[in-house]
């Protein structure tokens, strides 16, 4: 094995880095799709600046023998596409990193002789084919060939991708692709740049999608037929996904004038019988508090997807954080029940979003799904969801004369009618109201009973909490706590640490907490919480509802997700104490 060989790797991390607009995403799309189709496990994560052109963005693609799906610091193959790429990724580039680049882009930044650099005159080669734009396809071809991609798959993809541009462009891309393959062949034979990743066995049935699509598919499978939202990174992907599939699934998609309109429209639609959703980020959600409270008092279901990004204020619009847990937990004036879910894997995102609609409908409460930028943009191949396991549970009643919208019942849940379906009249009232839905000033009886009715529903909600997942032995000494999108990174870090006494408890429902939470915590000798925010919001929630104080915290708040390596290091450090 010479120094360029990657044969000993079970997983390869390729990072492309360059300016917005340089086509990094095109390469990412190409490679993930064709390699997955060819049977590899693939995963990709992105980080980018809040701008449309320029700056320095990057994509990390992992191709692996085992299924892995988190962000790693390690870069096996680095492809810089502009002059700032090296500087931006410097701390991740080591002597082991293979840098494939024009020397022009890197020579001022590193001593080329000291790194594993492969110089490729991309621009020149692309221009030979006809234009700089073919650079991407050459790079894509090069990487593909390193993995011995079935060339037909690559060409089929290119043909589809450029179909609208005409045959000439397609042929040029083929040419570029072949060029890339040729270079790769030379690298393999001359430099020994060999890769030996094994393909996955279950390739046929696997799907490749990202967090935004997973949430969107969950919504479709949950019966969502109305979405009204205002664009806001990183939540817009869900809106776009539903818009794209609106025709096939009869979904009314409307862009609101602002977030306040969005949530009020969502509640209007739900009142009339729709399965309604809104998608936003923290700043947009901060404008929806009054609407959330309205959902609470009128007892009208709504599913709210909040893709977190770092605040306060505009903060870092295209970055990631788990800093809005407390916001969604306490938003809205007055006391009323709510449910907060936070998927960890793409599978979770599908099932949980699907379920969110059923929960909202059943308990007539707002259900919030918390994701984040990292999760929205995270891609990997997963087995297809099992549709037989899900169902769309509707809880709408045909009304009769004398129908009372807020009828007192034992568990606080009143049969929900909708206008025009049945003989009854449906009165939704944001004022404190009687069972019929009329304004009341009867304080001693009606007000008290209505407050209690709403809280009783919460008792029902508590009986239906999704339990946290325990990964590892239940005889753990150390228990790692995580929630939401940190799932894959923590899981992989623990696989690496491979300590049988450490287990991982992951929460995909963060509120209300599952009743067993305390038990799990108290069994451990040491508990470590891992959160992508600065004040450890989830540990506060845990303390409040279990009394258990978690002392060991691994927190990150620079706008980036945790990498597997830093988790390994930080967990080990705490373990050593």
């Amino acid at each position: 094995m010479n120094s360029f060989s990657l044969e000993d790797k079970e997983d390869i991390s390729i990072v492309l880095c360059g300016a917005a607009g340089q086509g990094i995403q095109t390469v990412e799309q190409f490679l993930t799709h064709v390699l997955q189709e060819d049977g590899y496990n693939v995963a990709a994560t992105k980080e980018y600046m809040s701008r449309v052109r320029g700056g320095t963005n990057s994509t990390e693609i992992r191709i692996s023998s085992k299924r892995v799906s988190a962000f790693v610091d390690r870069i096996d193959i680095f492809i810089p596409l502009n002059k700032t790429a090296i500087a931006r990724q410097r701390k991740r580039i080591t002597k082991d990193t293979i840098i494939i680049s024009e020397s022009e882009l890197i020579k001022d930044e590193i001593d080329i002789s000291k790194y594993k650099v492969i110089e490729i005159p991309w621009t020149e080669l692309a221009q030979e084919i006809g234009s700089k734009v073919y650079l991407n396809t050459i790079a894509a071809g090069l990487i593909a060939e390193l993995f011995q991609l079935d060339q037909e798959i690559g060409k089929k993809y290119l043909r589809n991708r450029f179909a609208s541009k005409g045959e000439e462009i397609i042929q040029k891309n083929f040419e570029a692709f072949n060029k890339g393959c040729e270079i790769a062949d030379t690298l393999i034979s001359e430099k020994g740049l060999k890769i030996a990743i094994k393909k996955s066995s279950k390739k046929d049935k696997e799907l490749l999608y990202n967090g935004a699509s997973a949430v969107g598919m969950g919504a479709i499978a949950g019966g969502c037929n109305f979405i009204c939202s205002y664009p806001m990174s990183p939540s817009t992907g869900v809106l776009v996904f539903l818009a794209k599939h609106a025709h096939d699934f009869d979904i009314l998609v409307e862009q609101a004038e602002d977030e306040i309109a969005a949530i009020n429209a969502g509640l209007g639609a739900a009142y009339a019988g729709a399965r309604a959703m809104v998608t936003t980020s923290g700043g947009g959600f901060a404008l929806m508090g009054e609407g959330l409270s309205l959902s609470g008092i009128i007892e009208t279901p709504i599913v709210i997807h909040v893709a977190q990004r770092p605040g306060p204020g505009t903060g870092l619009p295209t970055r990631t954080e788990q800093g809005d847990l407390e916001l969604v937990l306490y938003a809205g004036h007055g006391d009323f029940p709510r449910i907060i879910l936070a998927p960890g894997s793409l599978q979770d995102a599908f099932y949980i979003t699907q379920k969110a609609f059923n929960l909202a409908d059943k308990f007539q409460v707002p259900v919030i799904i918390l994701t984040d930028q990292y999760f929205m943009d995270l891609y990997y191949n997963i087995p297809p969801p099992d549709i037989s396991k899900i169902s769309i549970e509707k809880h709408i009643t045909k009304t009769e004369k004398g129908y009372k919208r807020y009828k007192y019942t034992e568990n606080g849940i009143s049969p929900r009618g909708i206008p025009g379906y049945g003989e009854g009249l449906v009165r939704a009232d944001s004022d404190e109201h009687t069972e019929d839905g009329f304004i009341t000033e009867d304080l001693d009886v009606t007000r008290v009973k209505m407050v209690e009715k709403r809280l009783k529903k919460f008792d029902e909600v508590k009986k239906n909490v999704i339990p946290p997942d325990l990964l590892g032995t239940d005889k753990y000494k150390t228990l790692i706590i995580g929630w939401g999108s940190t799932f894959t990174a923590i899981k992989e870090a623990l696989d690496i640490i491979a300590d049988k006494e450490i287990s991982f408890l992951h929460f995909k429902q963060v509120y209300p907490l599952h009743q067993k939470t305390k038990e799990f915590l108290e069994k451990a000798e040491k508990v470590i919480i891992i959160e992508n925010n600065v004040t450890s919001q989830f540990s506060k929630l845990i303390k409040l509802y279990t009394g258990f104080e978690i002392k060991n915290k691994i927190l990150k708040f620079n706008g980036m997700p945790f990498s597997v390596e830093e988790l390994v290091e930080k967990i080990k450090k705490i373990e050593e104490v």
Binding site: F249, L252, A256, A265, G268, A269, A274, G422, L425, A428
Partner: protein
């Protein structure tokens, strides 16, 4: 109210002040609804918060009494979810043009087939007498101690400026005209704004019945399809012409929405096809 109307409610304690224009609006609305032969359970009244916004509480029908300023997004969404319903958004001037100003302008653009009645008393009634967007320049209140220093908001010029589908004004003191306008507004296909001049006897000592009486007159020989002419009449400052200023027949939001292009069934009645889901994604 003489004979019993199906929208009448038994036994209610109406929270308005004696003499308030809101009573005339309520009575006339019930008459208009009966004349239009609308069924109570097919009607949804949507309101925000304020004195005017209490109107739905006093009619025998479905209602959504939501948040201050937010009646319009609720109203269009209800209509879009179930176009078979008759949807009327009814609220005060503060609710509709103040807190709800952004929804007003964008709902006009959206053009859902709903009706919007605005009780324009040129004051915040329920909160006890602060200036509303339509308050006259110079009017003094507990907050505007030196008088209002903002130019009054003219809902009609704005709606016409936005090329609204139907724009009209009436006066609570003329129930005959009001009923005619209500009926036309409800019948109109598309977003219909009816601004109703309404005296508030408790807090608005400036814009009284007398004051309005001296300033209203009826649009005559006016061609409501002429947008510029409509703007001109709507922009009058000294007087308040009443009638239909502007009618612009155009497709509604529901008609424009793809989900109703071929299939007219309200979306809430459609079942999600999970088999199609599997075919599409799995």
């Amino acid at each position: 109210m003489s004979k019993k109307n199906i929208f009448d409610m038994d036994d209610i304690d109406i929270a308005w002040c004696p003499g308030c224009g809101d009573f005339q609006i309520l009575t006339t609305l019930k008459e208009a609804l009966v004349e239009l032969d609308i069924k109570p359970n097919n009607l949804v009244l949507v309101s925000g918060i304020g004195q005017a916004a209490k109107t739905p509480q006093y009619l025998n029908c479905n209602f959504f009494n939501g948040l201050h300023g937010r009646s319009l997004p609720v109203a269009w969404a209800i209509k879009a979810t179930n176009p078979e319903l008759v949807v009327i958004a009814e609220s005060g001037d503060g609710c509709s043009y103040g807190e709800g100003g952004n929804h007003f302008i964008h709902t006009v653009r959206r053009n859902p087939n709903i009706t919007n009645f605005v009780h324009n008393n040129m004051i915040y009634g329920l909160t006890k007498g602060q200036a509303s967007p339509t308050s006259r320049f110079g009017m003094k209140t507990g907050i505007q101690v030196d008088g209002v220093i903002l130019d009054p908001f003219n809902p009609l010029t704005i709606a016409i400026g936005l090329d609204a589908s139907f724009v009209a004004r009436t006066y609570a003191g003329d129930q005959k005209h009001m009923k005619e306008m209500m009926i036309k507004a409800i019948k109109h296909k598309g977003y219909a704004l009816l601004d109703i001049l309404q005296p508030c006897v408790s807090f608005n000592k400036l814009n009284t019945y007398q004051w309005f009486k001296e300033r209203i007159y009826y649009l005559e020989n006016h061609d409501p399809t002429n947008r510029l002419e409509a703007l001109k009449r709507a922009a009058e400052v000294e007087k308040f012409p009443l009638g239909i200023f502007y009618v612009n027949e155009k497709p509604t939001f529901e008609e424009n929405t793809e989900v109703y292009h071929t299939n007219k069934k309200p979306i809430y009645k459609r079942e999600r096809d999970l088999k199609k889901f599997s075919e599409k994604f799995l």
